[in-house]
Each structure stands twice: as C-alpha cells, then as structure tokens.
C-alpha cells in the first residue's frame, strides 16, 4: 500500500508540472499573439492612413507657384475626417513646409507629417535631374519621422 501511494504522489507532481508548463505556455503564447496582432493592426492602420493622406495629395490641385503658403485652416480642412479637401493646393503646401498634425480619434498616438517639395530623390538637396521644377513635386507622408508613403506628381498644365 505504501509503495502504491508513493507512485501516485509522483504522478500527481509530474502531472501538476506538465499542467503548469502548459498553462504558462498558453498564457505566454496568447499574450504574445495579442501583442503581435495589436502591433500588426497598428502598422496596418498607420499605412492605410498614410496612403489615404497620399491619395488626398494626389487629388488636390497643383495651384500656382505664386500662391501663398497654406493657412492652418486650409491644412485642417485638407486633412480632417470629411472628404472636402477645401482650397489648399500643392504649391501652398510646398511653401508651408513640413505640415505636422495629429488626427483626432485615431487609435495610434503620434504625429503625421505631410511634406511637399522638389527633392525628388529625397537626398536633401534640390539639385538633381528634374528637381526644382514647379510642375514636378514629391509628396511624402511620415509618422513620427518614419516614411509611410511617397510618390511624385506631375502638373501637365503649369
């Protein structure tokens, strides 16, 4: 009888160990999964929003090189939650310089930057081929300094 009781105790201990290990693995796995999913969703949201801002910039008119810099109200109108882009133009944004804003009710913290310039290759100098023209502008969208989307737009008129 003693011997049988001893074996039972070992079994119970091993079983408890396995159960503990399994429980910890599940907890760790689920936690990591949640964190990974949250991170992926955050990235997806950021890139989707970045692409959306880029497409707004593809939709607004070029305007005229003589236009003044965009006002705060024009920037707000262009990047608020409705589809009305207001009266801002690409040349107004170019003159404004990097425009930083934090959208309301966006689940990812941090500021977006919208940049319109003539530095087509992004090397910090507007001196390369095709650079510095009024009818060719690079548009970039960044989040906390990290590039989300960029392209170059051409004005067939100006």
């Amino acid at each position: 009888m003693r011997a049988r009781a001893g074996f039972a105790l070992v079994e119970v201990l091993i079983t408890l160990g396995i159960l503990g290990f399994v429980t910890m693995s599940i907890a760790t796995g689920v936690g990591a999964g949640h964190r990974a999913t949250a991170a992926i969703e955050r990235e997806a949201l950021l890139h989707a929003r970045g692409q959306e801002y880029l497409e707004r910039l593809l939709a607004i008119p070029f305007g005229r090189p003589a236009d003044g810099a965009a006002s705060g109200a024009q920037l707000t109108e262009a990047f608020d939650d409705d589809s009305d882009l207001g009266t801002v133009t690409l040349h107004r944004l170019r003159l404004f310089g990097p425009a930083l804003f934090e959208p309301a009710a966006f689940p990812v913290a941090g500021r977006f930057t919208v940049l319109v310039d003539g530095d087509l290759d992004g090397n910090g100098v507007v001196a390369g081929a095709d650079e510095g023209r009024n009818d060719l502008l690079r548009i970039s969208v960044l989040h906390e300094g990290r590039l989300l989307a960029r392209t170059v737009r051409f004005d067939p008129i100006g």
Binding site: R4, F7, E11, V12, I14, T15, I18, L19, F21, V22, T23, S25, I26, G29, V30, A32, G33, A36, T37, I40, E43, A44, H47, Q51, L54, E55, L58, P61, F62, G63, R64, P65, A66, D67, T87, L120, D121, A129, D130, R133, D135, L136, R138, A149, R150, T151, V152, R153, F154, D155, P156, I157, G158
Partner: protein, 492 residues
C-alpha cells in the same frame, strides 16, 4: 491499482498537445496576417513608385523642345530604343528615369503622333505598372476658348481649357473651372471674383508660356488636303476675283462663287464631302450655314461670315443638342440629345475674322470649332481699344434673342457675342447665350486641324499590379499587355 499507474499522465498528455496546437495556430495566424499587411504595404509602395516614374517621364516629354513638329524627347526615346536593347514589340523604347532603384519608365510609338508611356516599379516582391497615352501635338480644338493678342474675359462654369497670351479676366464670384485655365500675363479678378471664391479643378497657371498662333503660311499648307472643288469650279479664273458661299447639306454641300464686281456666279450643288475632310477656299467665305452629318474642316484664306445656324444633324434628322433653336431658352435647356446617332465635327479656319452676318436669325445655333488666325469671332461692327480691354464702337442695330454654341473658339482678337452697358443692358448682340464645349474635339479634332507643339497626356490607367520580382530586379519580365489586370484589383 498498479494497472492505473500513469493514467493521470496519459489523460493530461492530449490536453498538453491540444494547448500546444492552439499556441501554434495563434502564432501562424498572426504571421499570415502580418504577411498580408506587409504585401499590401509593398503593393501600395510599388504603385506609388510607378506613378512617380510615370510623372517624371511625362515632365521630361512636356519640357522637351520640338523640331519640325516633333517632340525631341519622344523622338529620341523611340529612335534609341533599339540601340539600348529593350524588348518591346511595339517599337523602340528608352529608359527615361528611375526615381527609385526599382522603378523604370519607357516610351513606345503606337501610331503617327501617338505614343505610350509605361512605368513599372517593384518593391519587396510586389510590382505595379501604370500607363499613359501621349499625343505628340495638341490640336487647337482642345480649347473651349483661346485668345492670342487680347484679354480673354470669362466667368461662370465653362468647360474646356481656356487660355490667353494676354491677361485672363475672371468675372463673378463662385466660378468653377473644370478644365485648365492658363494665361501668359496673369489673372485679373473682376466683379466679385477672387482666388478664394473661384475653383480651378483642371489645373491653373497664370504665367504660362505663350502658345504661338499658326500664321497664314501654315493655313495655306492645308490646301494640300483640299479636294480642289473651288479650283475646279473656277476653271482657271483667278480666285481673287470671287467670294465664296457654302451651304452644308448633311453629307453634301453646295458651293457658290460670286464675282466681286457683281457680273456673275459659278454654282456647284450637292457636292460630296472632300475625301480628306478639308474644303479649302482660297478667298473670303461670305456665307456659311447649314446642317452637317460628316467630319469637315472648312478653310478660308480670308474671313468667314456665318449667315445662319450651323448644326450637327444625323441621318434621321436628330440634332446633336436639343433646344438649340428654342424660342424660350430660359425654360428649355441646351442639352445633349440622346437620340443623336451621328459623329459630325466641323472645323472652321479663317485667316481673318469669323463674324455673324447682320441678318442672322434672332434664334441661332452654331456647332463647330472656329479658329481665326489674325481676327476675332462674334459680332459685326465692333472696334476695341488698342489693348482690347474696351469696346469703342458697336452696331446698335444688331440685337438678337439667343445664340447657343456647341464647340469651341480660338482667335487672335477678342471673342464678343454681346456688348452690355454698366447696368447690364444689351447694346448689341444676343440677349441670351449658352456655350458648351464639345469634348469630342479632344480626341477627334476636325480633319487636319491646326495643332500646337506641346504634348497632351491622356488615358491614364493601371496596367498591372502583381507579385513578382525582387527589389530592383523585377523588371525583366515586362511585356506590354502580358500583365493586364483590372484597376479594381490593385490594393488602394
């Protein structure tokens, strides 16, 4: 009891395996989600880069010089294509620019005066290809209104590009310009208009390069496309002794040559439309009227007088636009006629003025594109100040009810259909007017119509958006037409 040893462990083992499987499933699912998100991001990036490459290629073509009516960049791109060894079945091609190490663009010649630009980019194994057509020279018929040496006054919601080589006078608040508005000497905001209450949707440039007007010599070159009907009727007599009158009758026309000294006429009736679509009249055209069911360019080396309506009417008698001759224009809108089955297009080119005759009907409709190289379009009897800003004399007896136009106008001097005083009272011209730009003139100008040395880009579309290729090395497999996909498949 000994037989039950290990049974607890055996019971726990499947549970452990099940839990392990669950963890594995969770991580696999997360990885798949991550891969999908990353693929979408790369696809967007590839699309953006391809658009960038296309934009730069277009800019280079736009800024290129012209030699003998040919765009140098397009000519070089297609001529050097074979030398650089690019594989393109439709003609030569040339790498124009790479804004990103994995993007590239090239040009193919499709037909005389027509080219195609393709741009492709590959980012992280995702590839996108976009395309645009280029017409090497831009026909003058692209303008809703064009004025060379006088200001161009405009307001409301006009369609079609508007341009002047002088000052653009923009009238009234709330103007909406759907197409390009360009002027060499800037904009003048009048009667409540300003930059804040005016919308330019189609591009704007108030210091645009001057667009040169074709001169008499260029107009004379159109004689090569004429069918010789006038010369045949003259029978060797000098054209300088005659004026012409033309009546359009659907797919035929009547031609009347009248001796200037009143001593006789020469008549030919029911002539077929010219084979090359050009009726060349080497004299003043003193009367032009009728209905058209064909594509025709009427060229006069002098001036043209519109004596009655000029209308597109198809074989069944349906006009291109409804209510063109309405006697109640306030209640009956000028609108497209869905029953119209024709494809008529009239171009009128004159070296001098194109004017309405004093005796035109009080309700008039004019369809067509009118080009005056050294004169103006509109009312008879007008004179202007030297800069064209003000009317100095007008014909007070020319008072009509309505003129509805479908087409466009390009002139050297000011376009005037109505003269009003400060109170809005009509002093001369039409009390009611309506102008609608004929967008078919963009893609199908009248036969052999005059053109400008500048490219026109059109028909942008997404050709392909596919996985494939490594960073910077996904371009080898490009074959025009081989990766056709609907734009809807591109992750936006």
């Amino acid at each position: 009891m000994r037989d039950q040893r290990g049974s607890l462990l055996l019971a726990v083992l499947p549970l452990a395996l099940l839990a392990g499987g669950f963890v594995l499933l969770t991580t696999t699912s997360s990885r798949a989600y991550l891969a999908e998100m990353e693929a979408t991001r790369r696809q967007n990036a590839a699309w953006n880069e391809a658009n960038a490459a296309l934009s730069i290629a277009q800019a280079r073509i736009k800024s290129s010089a012209y030699a003998a009516n040919r765009n140098v960049a397009l000519a070089e791109a297609t001529e050097q294509g074979a030398e650089v060894g690019l594989d393109n079945a439709e003609g030569g091609a040339l790498h124009l620019f790479a804004v990103h190490p994995a993007s590239e663009s090239w040009v193919s010649r499709l037909a005389d005066g027509w080219y195609q630009i393709d741009a492709v980019a590959s980012v992280g194994g995702r590839r996108a290809q976009v395309r645009s057509l280029v017409r090497e020279r831009d026909p003058f018929s692209r303008f809703g209104a064009f004025v060379n040496r006088h200001p161009l006054g405009i307001g409301g919601s006009p369609k079609g590009d508007v341009h002047t080589n002088r000052v653009m006078q923009l009238f009234y608040a709330g103007g909406v310009y759907e197409d390009a508005v360009t002027a060499r000497d800037g904009f003048e905001w009048l009667v409540g208009a300003n930059a804040g209450n005016t919308t330019f949707s189609g591009g704007v440039d108030d210091h645009h390069a001057a667009i040169p007007m074709p001169n008499a010599a260029e107009i004379a070159t159109l004689a090569q496309y004429g069918d010789g009907a006038v010369e045949s009727l003259l029978g060797g007599a000098s054209a300088s002794l005659f004026d012409a009158k033309v009546t359009l009758r659907g797919t035929h026309y009547d031609l009347l040559l009248v001796r200037k000294d009143g001593t006789g006429t020469l008549t030919a009736t029911s002539l077929p439309m010219p084979g090359d679509g050009v009726l060349f009249v080497p004299m003043d055209l003193k009367a032009l009227e009728g209905t058209l069911d064909a594509r025709l360019t009427v060229v006069s080396t002098g001036g043209v007088t519109i004596t009655n309506s000029l209308r597109y009417v198809d074989e069944a008698g349906e006009p291109a636009y409804r209510n063109g001759l309405s006697t109640n224009p306030d209640a009956e809108p000028y609108e497209p006629n869905p029953a119209y089955a024709g494809n008529a297009s009239l171009g009128v080119i004159a070296n001098s003025h194109i004017l309405y005759a004093s005796g035109v009907p009080t309700y008039l409709e004019v369809n067509g594109f009118f080009f005056s190289a050294t004169g103006r379009y509109g009312l008879p009897g007008l004179t202007f100040t030297a800069n064209g800003t003000y009317v100095t004399a007008y014909d007070p007896t020319f008072k009509k009810q309505s003129c509805r136009r479908y087409g466009g106008i390009a002139t050297d001097l000011r376009i005037v259909s109505t003269v009003v005083n400060g109170s809005g009272l009509v002093l001369s011209g039409f009390k009611k007017g309506k102008s609608v730009y004929d967008r078919r003139l963009l893609s199908e100008p009248p036969p052999h119509f005059l053109a400008i040395d500048r490219p026109l880009f059109s028909c942008y579309r997404v050709v392909g958006s596919l996985p494939g290729g490594e960073q910077g090395r996904g371009l080898e497999g490009r074959a025009v037409g081989a990766v056709e996909r609907a734009a809807a498949e591109v992750p936006q």
